[in-house]
Symmetry: C2
Subunit: 153 residues, 2 copies
C-alpha cells in the first residue's frame, strides 16, 4: 500500500469510526424500524390494489413506488455488529449469525422493488400488480426468516 | 352535481373513510416520527458538511438529498384531526389549533428542500452548503414553533 493510500484509508477509517461512534444501538434499531414503517406505509395500499381490495390508482402507485425505491435498503447498514440489542426489536439474531444469507434475502427484496419501479414506468396494470406481488413475496420471505413475531429485548 | 359525480364522490368518501378507519392515532404518530427519523438521518451528515464538521462528499449529498426530497412532507397528512394524542409525542398541540400557520411553516421546509434538490443538480459546493443551511433554518423554525422539548402523552 502506498503512503498516500494508507493516509486515505486511515482518514476513511477515522470518518467511519466517528460516524459509528455517534450511532448508538438503540438509534440504529429505531432507524431500521422507521425505514420499515415508511416502506410499509407506501407498500400497504399498493398490495391492497394488487389484491383488488381497493381500486387501482396509477398516481398512488407511481408515488408510493418512488418512496419504496428510495427507502428500501437504507437500513441494511443499520444491522451492523453491535446492533443486535439496545431496544425492543423483532430482528431475529440469525441476521447476525448468518449475515450472508440475510444479505441475499434483503437483496432479493431490493431487486423486486427495482423490477416494480421498471414495471410502473413501462407496464400495464396487470404487469404492475404482478410486480407488486413479487415485492410482497420477497418482503414476506425475509420477514418469515428474520422477523420475530414478538419484539425481544 | 351530476349523479355520476355524486357517485364518484360517495365512493371516494367511502375509500377515504375506510383508509382513515385503518389509521389509529398511535400509528399516525409512529409514522410521523418514522418519517422525521429517516429525514433526520439523511440530513444530519449533510448539515455537518455544510458546517465543515466533516468533509464534503458530493455522492452522499446527492443520495441523501434524494431521500430528503422523497420523504419530506410524507407525514403532513398524518397530523390529521384525532391524532393529537395516542402515543408519546413531541408534537405541540398548536399544530391542531393553528393548522394554517403549521401548514405554512411545513411548506417552507418543503420549499427549502426543493431548492436544495435544484442546487445539488446545478450548483457548486458553496451553493449547496448555502441551500443546506436554508433547509436547516426552516427545519429549526418549524421545530422551534411546533416541537416540544419533551414528549407528552
Amino acid at each position: 500500500m502506498q503512503p498516500c493510500s494508507l493516509t486515505i484509508a486511515v482518514i476513511a477509517l477515522a470518518i467511519a469510526g466517528s460516524a459509528f461512534a455517534q450511532m448508538k444501538p438503540e438509534d440504529e434499531i429505531r432507524y431500521r424500524q422507521s425505514v420499515m414503517n415508511v416502506a410499509g406505509r407506501a407498500f400497504t395500499p399498493m398490495i391492497q390494489m394488487a389484491q383488488d381490495k381497493i381500486p387501482y390508482n396509477r398516481e398512488v402507485v407511481a408515488k408510493n413506488t418512488q418512496v419504496l425505491q428510495t427507502v428500501i435498503g437504507l437500513h441494511w447498514d443499520a444491522f451492523g455488529p453491535g446492533t443486535e440489542r439496545g431496544a425492543p426489536t423483532k430482528a431475529d439474531l440469525k441476521i447476525w449469525s448468518e449475515p450472508d444469507k440475510f444479505k441475499t434475502s434483503a437483496e432479493k427484496a431490493q431487486e423486486a422493488v427495482g423490477k416494480l419501479g421498471q414495471t410502473v414506468r413501462t407496464g400495464d396494470e396487470k404487469e404492475v400488480k404482478a410486480a407488486l406481488g413479487g415485492v410482497g413475496k420477497t418482503c414476506k420471505g425475509c420477514h418469515d426468516d428474520y422477523r420475530l413475531k414478538e419484539a425481544r429485548d
